[in-house]
Subunit: 131 residues, 6 copies
């Protein structure tokens, strides 16, 4: 169970409920996932984190699906079990197919490999890559 | 300098030159970056790594730009200096604008934050996210 | 279960018991947690690791609570499930309140985010920060 | 150099200047470090990141020094060169002595070691640590 | 359960079966572990990953046991639960004794500690270590 | 430069010199590398860290070369610049050839890749790998 437990909607303060409501409206769902229910014990962090994610994940120069794919690639690299599970679901909802998922994992795996080859072989940065 | 130094085209064996040639043809460039010149001391790894990257990064269900964005997000998460520099260049070549770059970094940063919040608060995976 | 299983006090050798005894005396507890019972299969590592932790975690220029908070922040960054669980307990015993826990997680999360922003944007170190 | 270069105060837009001004006022300094000057190319991220850090790092249940120590421990764990340099400076400004620095590094190092021992030996979480 | 489930031998396509057969022949076993059964949903990645691992893990300048030890040390550093479990089994099959396992973990733990001490204390590379 | 600078032999206290002497004797060299000269500002950590490394790296069930290879694999995975440089040198001194180095890097790279594939595909641990 989460360190301080989960706060369900019915037991939430008006401040927390306002965040829950905005999450449900923004995501067009009636479901609040555990991440938010755990953070709700710290309403300041809950509010700031949701506001940040809402701003960051809104479509911009990158569309919503691409952003979800990036989120999943990072979560996979960090090997965060909760995040891989929840963002696999989120990416699918945003349009990720099984084939996209497989290609995403392949790129993520390869990048993790070549990152170590570059570091382990102590490759110096090409002059043309220096900004 | 790279651990075993860099092998330039002129000094390369036919086996290594064949890989260099394929890199230049595939990427439509006459430039071989240091990563490959360092790995060239181990022709087996050079050949396998290039073949893998060529296969993985070819457009499929995900287009070339999306794959490069994922590669850069992973390299940023791992904080690999060489890889960030070289894949920022590669992503730009594939069409990444400054605004896309900024949004990519914002998503990558946020994912790294929320990964730790989920782990640190010991959030259990929602039943609906279990596959 | 731990790779080589756990060694309980009754089944432990005198060498291992001596470490267990010192842990219980130092920590004012009659409980040995699984970490030590697993390491006990390698008495040399058990003894050295306990001696190191005992020395490092003793109050000095930093008090015991601050040291536990740092330990938890590192464990959270590395996403070590066992360590997050055990050091959340240890930090609480040393005086960490729920509010301190929440603030610790917020700082840890933000640091993980800004570490990637600094690396991803390839920010060069300010001259004044060079020692 | 940073990927998109640094934006100095004189060349900054009013929006960016407002953030720079708030940083200088809050931190009682006339110096803006490179991190912010790099992020300034993305005013939305600049503004959100500063607002988050300002809120998170303000004294609360944990004092300012303790928060800086945690920030440095995380940056050290992630091995972010820029962040280690800048947060060593920030922690010193908040009161970190050389002895505190040394103890912080000792705890951080040990936590990184024991995290791997716990994972590598596959130690299961003690029932009493399950929340 | 794995994201897309596991593909058993009987349900596998001829392409996937060919990889399964080669794994069993090469490893002298009649068991295919879950890693491969999960990847089988992406036959291209399955085939490439197996071909790479087969080539990399074959005895060369380093023998099979040493390679398995390195694999386990990396998996422990990354704290990958699946990989620690499966490569502990693989290393044992290749000859790792309990004492070797314990020493491997001790070295891995210490390296993780000293890596942070070197980074946290901002130690510059000795001239003689520059290649 | 290291955060608190480097302490040369001539300027060292008797306590620090004793550690330096033991390092030089144990390693059969007249050179003290920067890592120790930086840590010397904290004699307690210097002494404990050296004693731990001396004990851990001594030949046992694993020989000295194998231990150095593991150390380098971990340092590469963590992408610690100082540690990769210094332990590449140490491993060579212990007998690592260029071919061994290349194979070590290949295994390290592949392990980093497959760690993410296992995590990203959410592969469950096989019953037979559960200890």
């Amino acid at each position: 169970m989460a360190t301080l437990g989960l706060i369900e909607y019915d037991a939430a303060s008006p401040e927390v409920r306002a965040v829950y409501d905005d999450i449900m409206t923004t995501r067009k769902t009636d479901y609040i996932n555990n991440f938010w229910k755990a953070l709700a014990h710290d309403p300041v962090t809950l509010k700031r984190t949701w506001a940040s994610i809402k701003e960051i994940m809104a479509p911009g120069a990158l569309d919503a699906l691409t952003k979800e794919l990036i989120y999943l690639a990072v979560s996979t690299t960090n090997q965060c079990g909760y995040c891989i599970a929840s963002h696999t679901a989120a990416a699918r909802k945003a349009g990720m197919t099984d084939q996209m998922f497989a290609e995403l994992q392949a790129v993520t795996g390869m990048a993790n490999e070549s990152n170590r080859l570059a570091s382990g072989w102590q490759v110096e940065i090409d002059d043309r890559f220096k900004t």
